[in-house]
Symmetry: C2
Subunit: 232 residues, 2 copies
């Protein structure tokens, strides 16, 4: 059976964390909007017993699974993309939820007032939030991942990559796109995180996808590059 | 065996979502800071293979489980506080992650610039964010829960309460504390959500806890009452 992934076309967004797991796990799926031009907003409005609040959601085995971290929990359990034991499964999910927290904060840097307003309508607020994000939040999160890797080894769960390593790769990609100057400075203090980023980028399972035009540009999604929000 | 819950004393905070599940599930635990005066910051700094980034975390069966939603996933599976089948388990977790998203937004209303600054240092930004939260975000989330209950029945997963119902109860408690005028208006459009709130408040399993002084005031936690941020 094939899974259906529903996510807004045009940006990697939160859908990308799911896509990377599907691609690296060699799991067949249809990306409904990208592959078939399906209307995400219309599908989201369909009455269901378990409606998702927002994309991404995965239609799998008759289930409609929403929330990126929840989809990854399912894929991890079903396709061996995370340890199978309780401790390892929960640890991987804890990592993912912490990544999700940082993703939300990275978005709110350019939208600190309202997701429904343009960045141009909240630039002074964004400038203040960006300074705090660069100075305090990026080091807080990435130093924590560095500390984890000091205990765990090459991957966040020790022996082999999981969906959380793929997501940390994409998080570092996004942060580096949005805050190139700041990330150049932070990278010097987080060599293990940067080595993990390189290791995921080199995974044989991902080469075809990363080199393809299916690997979408960041554009105006979660991670955005506004030079005035970056600084070393 | 007894679980150890680690969370900052003095506010319900994100620890409360875990406490409600432990109490309603009649699961023995030690609230390390509240019961024993333990130093949360010192424990958080202890080197571990699986360090939490922040409280709450639960020490259980040799595991250190961080992230409130992840702790609830564990408690749900281990103590029957969620459906046991895959579809029901993932649906309950999806609900919880959506509650967590709204909790984070409710916090950022009074801290739109930086969690490390005082509210008094970000009041103009908070005023703008509060207007959007009241007008757009509260209805978006609560109308979604209303829609869910229209399909599911009295509880978010149908037949009986789960940890997600307990969390939605606390979310409504917090929102009503922080935005009393706005919630009075929204309540008229979300009668099923309000009925669920009343049903959880009436659960026999929670009466002793809710009436005790262990049920902490909101104070300066996630949910804060600043009259200037509220309006109908």
């Amino acid at each position: 059976m094939t899974y259906d992934l529903w996510y807004w076309p045009g940006i990697p967004g939160r859908g990308e964390f799911v896509r990377l797991a599907l691609k690296a796990g060699k799991i067949p799926y249809v990306d409904k909007a990208l592959d078939e031009g399906a209307d995400v907003a219309a599908d989201l409005a369909v009455p269901r017993d378990t409606p998702p609040l927002a994309p991404p959601y995965l239609v799998a085995d008759g289930m409609v699974i929403g929330q990126a971290a929840n989809i990854l929990l399912f894929l991890g359990e079903t396709h061996g993309l995370a340890p199978a034991d309780t401790a390892g499964r929960l640890w991987t999910h804890q990592l993912q939820l912490t990544i999700a927290d940082m993703v939300a904060e990275a978005h709110d840097v350019h939208h600190p007032v309202a997701v429904g307003l343009y960045y141009e309508d909240q630039k002074p607020e964004a400038a203040r939030r960006a300074e705090d994000f660069r100075t305090n939040r990026i080091p807080k999160f990435l130093n924590w991942f560095e500390r984890v890797l000091a205990h765990q080894g090459d991957w966040l769960t020790g022996d082999r990559w999981t969906y959380a390593d793929l997501s940390l790769f994409h998080l570092v990609e996004g942060l580096t796109y949005a805050f190139p100057e700041r990330m150049a400075a932070v990278a010097r203090d987080t060599p293990k995180v940067m080595a993990l980023h390189e290791a995921v980028a080199a995974l044989p399972e991902l080469q075809a996808y990363l080199a393809s035009d299916r690997n979408q540009d960041f554009g105006e999604g979660i991670f955005r590059y506004y030079p005035e929000l970056d600084a070393a």
